[in-house]
Symmetry: C2
Subunit: 293 residues, 2 copies
């Protein structure tokens, strides 16, 4: 069964390459040409539109920036919906609003096809290594049918009905945002209160304050090392989906809302392309301290 892949960006390109390496027949589509040419020279076929990808392939994977992009690629002229027929499966691996996922899922099902939302966690490096965490929402039987395709890109886990993958991703992004901000808030406090942030980090990492964010981001903050990594502006996009979903469903998200404002401030200062560990810089500016020794 031929696999289609739409969206060959920083994440999508290595993911598609892993499908090729896994021996899958691949048809790709992307707005800009260079990524398409790289995939074609590695053995993929190029399609002229998302519709054509859907006509040729049994499984269509999309990996796009945000909700409007996925909606446009599926529902726009020459979109995926026009090329779908019963039995085909759309796997949207973009990180978008769960409400949009559910809306698109209904449209795909109207064509007799199936849709899974399968956003990923882990950056470019894990995309290249094929070790992403993939959170899958949708019908379990459909998941089982495409599981071997997902396995070529990472470790997948079925978490519930359509939209549940996106919800899981948003929970992940909420917790990560708050945990990074907490690390920054703590280290800036340490500096202002006359303790050495580096020793504080070593003293607390083994206890209940220990976290992946502390391990990954505290050393970055102490060295003011903010090359990405995962960019502030992408994390802010995810928090926007958290808060928009919260507004749609009436869920109060006080921490997500607060960290979103911190990220807005970073972006206003031109720091949007830095790693989200740059929340350390937000707190440096907020409290007039340097975390670096």
């Amino acid at each position: 069964m031929r696999i289609g892949f739409i969206g060959l960006g920083v994440m999508g390109k290595p993911m598609a390459e892993n499908l090729l390496k896994g021996g899958r027949a691949l048809t790709v589509f992307n707005r800009s040409r260079p990524a398409v040419e790289a995939l074609v020279s590695a053995g993929a076929h190029a399609a002229g539109s998302p519709r054509e990808v859907a006509e040729r392939c049994g499984v269509v994977v999309t990996m796009l920036p945000d909700s409007p992009d996925v909606r446009s690629v599926l529902c726009g002229p020459d979109g995926v919906l026009e090329g779908l027929s019963p039995g085909k499966v759309v796997v949207d691996m973009s990180s978008i609003a769960p409400t949009v996922s559910r809306e698109l899922c209904a449209l795909v099902e109207e064509r007799g096809a199936d849709m899974l939302d399968a956003p990923v966690s882990g950056g470019q490096e894990k995309a290249e290594k094929g070790t992403l965490a993939i959170m899958v929402g949708g019908r379990e039987a459909v998941y089982e049918r495409v599981r071997d395709v997902l396995d070529l890109m990472g470790r997948s886990l079925h978490v519930g009905v359509c939209g549940a993958g996106q919800v899981t991703k948003l929970v992940n992004q909420t917790i990560v945002a708050a945990n990074i901000a907490a690390v920054a808030e703590g280290l800036a406090f340490a500096r202002r209160a006359g303790a050495d942030p580096e020793r504080v980090f070593r003293a607390i990492r083994g206890g209940l304050a220990g976290s992946q964010c502390l391990e990954d981001k505290a050393p970055r903050m102490l060295e003011e090392r903010y090359e990405p990594g995962f960019r502030v502006e992408l994390h802010a996009k995810d928090l926007n989906n958290v808060l928009q979903t919260g507004r749609d469903l009436h869920v109060a998200m006080p921490l997500a809302a607060q960290v979103m404002e911190m990220m807005q401030n970073l972006m206003a200062r031109g720091c949007g392309a830095l790693d989200h560990g740059a929340l350390g810089r937000y707190y440096e500016l907020l409290n007039g301290v340097s975390l670096k020794p």
Copy 2:
């Protein structure tokens, strides 16, 4: 060298018992009698006042609820200060405001004695097992002189000058508070947005959202199991010290301030004696959901 121990509460009593088990000659003082009698029957001597403890012992350990208690035991009538003489060491293991620690340190040094602030992390169980994490502020040479005493109660780490131990503890409590609230915020969002919080927990624990708080508190929240553990009212006391220190030093602590308000709300609802994982209950009430399946 005889060791003095003042404050035989839930934490202090097992800590003092570990000093006795370690073969140390121990003199104790406590306001209420039963804990004193338990220690005396295990081999300790009882003193009639904090002053008498300081007169008899080379090292005086204090383990008391909050800043006013430590100030009163040191500076009050028949207090520790009255019994100090050059060469003696006060080790305050209470969790109090760093500014108060520094003020008391100066008073102790006026008597020619030395003081360390050495707050602990880890609850009653770790106090009993002698496996607390001890964060020590003060002169390093003084720390080396009493290190073997601290070793009987846990693993100690020297983090800086006087007050730095308290600062480290407050950083720890800030990060833990925010991390627990983030777990609760994420799981409540999952429920409202139609995903199963338990599956979401399993899907994200291995990634960047992973933390000790997620591992310890998510299962409690999913089962609504809030027996302490570490009580909300004690964590709120620590956050009060964070925020008060922030006000003294002009450090903005937006996350600590926000979680403090959540804990106030829990206490207003009579949940102050529950484990701090009860932030899960705060979010259940906030968003009209149950985390329990």
